[in-house]
């Protein structure tokens, strides 16, 4: 099994989710994160002091899939999350050893 961890622009979450659903990936876990990278944060002013907010709001999408599914999923994400602008984000892939479904105790591929 692979875990695909993706950092995307918040505005692209909907499309990524729908894209993954369409290829049969029915589960994922999402969280709010802050990104630091080529895309720079911006400057805000408060009472005369300008200050830089270094971090940019991003969304992290984590999805665990069968090995076979992985490359398809990556393709979908690459397509759906892309705006072509700096800050579109990254996909990180790694294998995981096992998965369990808490409700049933099922293990491995059946669990996801």
């Amino acid at each position: 099994m692979k875990k695909i961890e993706t950092i995307i622009k918040p505005i692209k979450l909907e499309e990524v989710k729908d894209g993954l659903s369409k290829i049969g990936i029915s589960g994922m876990t999402v969280s709010e994160v802050k990104g630091f990278g080529r895309q720079k944060g911006h400057s805000e002013i408060y009472r005369g002091a300008e200050y830089t907010v270094d971090f940019v709001p991003k969304v992290k999408v984590e999805v665990v899939v069968d090995d076979e599914m992985a490359s398809k999923a990556i393709e979908v994400i690459l397509a759906q999350a892309k705006t072509g602008q700096i800050g579109d984000g990254k996909i990180f892939v790694r294998s995981i050893e096992n998965a369990y479904r808490i409700r049933t105790g099922e293990e491995g591929r059946k669990a996801i």
Binding site: Q39, E44, Y46, T83, G87
Partner: protein
């Protein structure tokens, strides 16, 4: 308290102060001096009541600010508040310099006044009633201005808004006001000449604001994401409903100045107006809740809050001239009407984030009509006709001038922020600020809502814009 008065006289070194009541002179009272003194005391009570009412109406600015901020997204809260603050601040200055003179100055045509600019009717030592009257009127002008703010929320350029706000306070509102209310001071307008009933401004204040808001919402177009590709309205939930509710309570309180204060006199009449105002608001809230319950299966909060305001707007014209029972009916109808109107404007793609057009425009018109129908002294085809003329005149005047104004602003400074700025939020793009820097804002769900996805048609430019995220 006499010491304080004396102090002023001494310190300023002049005796310009308004004549004190007779007994202060320690002469033996006479019947005539007593009669004068009584008038003076009544006048003092009139001043106190009118100005306390003005303070309550002023506080409605806070109510509008909270309702509008609460009903929109966190990323635009600073902008909302800046608009409300400047509405009132600029409104005060422009109404002082220009608006009041147009509205209440002497007129030969019946179309607008031409005297009393810069409060020139007041001279030190002269009768200060014009000051009390101005104070009460300026908070009305600012109310009309701020109504529009909500309908144009979350996408209007700040500088465009400031321009609009100045023109509304200086021209649009006062000129219509002179038609219906000019006679309350030095003016005399054609609408009041016909016998138009609008005691506290369902039409003069609320509908005018509402129809200008309609023009603004149309010229601006809907917020990005408000409609799906196939044209269905989507929810863009307000970010702070407790704050919005506080705003509604503040507005309700303010209306106890708005309506009964319009007597501008301490009299027994205010009791009926208080009761009618309160009971119409209550009926509006209940019926809006019931209507939302029937239509959506759940009692919906934002509609219920709008319902209370709908009742208040509707009773504003007839508050002095209907019975409490009529007020219940007027408020109840407004409560139903406002829900249907919100759904209607949503369907015809007029995006009004806070329901300002429905609450103030539609229910203002309804209340003005109701003032004719439920008139305690009886109604007639003529009374109804005059009311309809007033309603129609308000729509034509406000919508047309509003539309032209917004088109002009659009052609010059531009009326709408860029899609990127809108996506980012006006707080940052217009003010370089954030409303809630210590809180984790849910960027995911506030950027895209619902399961429909962000339509490419609705939001094309964002895809090729630099730095959009």
């Amino acid at each position: 308290m006499k010491k304080m008065v004396r102090r002023i006289l001494l310190l300023t070194g002049v005796l310009f102060m308004f004549p004190l009541v007779a007994w202060a002179a320690d002469e033996a009272p006479t019947i005539a001096s007593n009669a004068d003194a009584i008038k003076a005391v009544q006048t003092h009570a009139d001043y106190v009541w009118t100005l306390v009412a003005a303070a309550l109406v002023f506080f409605m600015q806070a109510g509008f600010a909270m309702v509008e901020a609460g009903f929109t997204r966190a990323k635009n809260a600073v902008n909302i508040i800046m608009k409300n603050l400047m509405d009132f601040s600029m409104g005060s200055i422009f109404y002082w310099a220009i608006g009041f003179g147009l509205m209440f100055g002497a007129t030969t045509t019946g179309w607008f006044g031409t005297s009393g600019f810069f409060l020139s009717d007041f001279t030190p030592g002269g009768d200060p009633w014009v000051l009390a009257f101005w104070m009460f009127q300026v908070v009305f002008a600012a109310t009309a201005a701020t109504i529009v703010s909500g309908a144009m929320a979350e996408r209007t350029k700040f500088v465009a808004y400031l321009l609009y706000s100045a023109v509304l306070s200086a021209l649009i509102y006062p000129i219509f006001g002179s038609w219906a209310w000019g006679g309350l001071f030095n003016g005399s307008g054609w609408l009041e000449g016909l016998g138009f009933i609008d005691f506290a401004g369902s039409t003069v204040v609320h509908s005018i604001g509402g129809w200008v808001a309609l023009a603004g919402a149309i010229v601006l177009g809907p917020r990005i994401g408000k409609y799906t590709k196939d044209g269905k309205a989507r929810a863009i939930p307000g970010h702070n409903l407790p704050l919005a509710a506080l705003g509604v309570f503040i507005l309700w309180l303010g209306w106890f100045g708005f309506n009964p204060g319009s007597t501008t006199a301490a009299s027994k009449d205010i009791a009926l107006i208080f009761v009618n105002t309160n009971i119409a608001a209550a009926a509006g809230a209940i019926l809006a809740m019931i209507t939302s319950w029937i239509k959506f299966k759940k009692p919906e909060i934002s509609m219920s809050l709008n319902g209370a305001l709908a009742g208040l707007v509707a009773i504003t014209a007839p508050c002095a001239t209907v019975t409490p029972l009529s007020s219940v009916i007027i408020g109840a109808i407004a409560g139903v009407l406002v829900v249907l109107a919100v759904l209607f404007f949503d369907r015809i793609k007029v995006d009004d984030p806070v329901g300002a057009i429905s609450v103030h425009g539609v229910c203002g018109a309804w209340g003005t009509l109701a003032a004719g129908i439920f008139n305690i002294g009886g109604t007639s085809a003529k009374i109804i006709a005059v009311q309809l003329i007033g309603i129609g005149a308000a729509f034509i005047w406000a919508f047309t001038t509003g539309f032209i104004l917004f088109k002009l602003i659009d052609a010059t400074v531009g009326i709408r922020v860029s899609p990127e700025e809108e996506a980012e939020g006006l707080d940052y793009s217009e003010h370089g600020a954030r409303a809630y820097p210590d809180f984790q804002i849910v960027s995911a769900t506030s950027a895209v809502i619902g399961s429909g996805g962000m339509s490419k048609e609705v939001w094309p430019s964002i895809l090729t814009a630099p730095e959009a995220h």
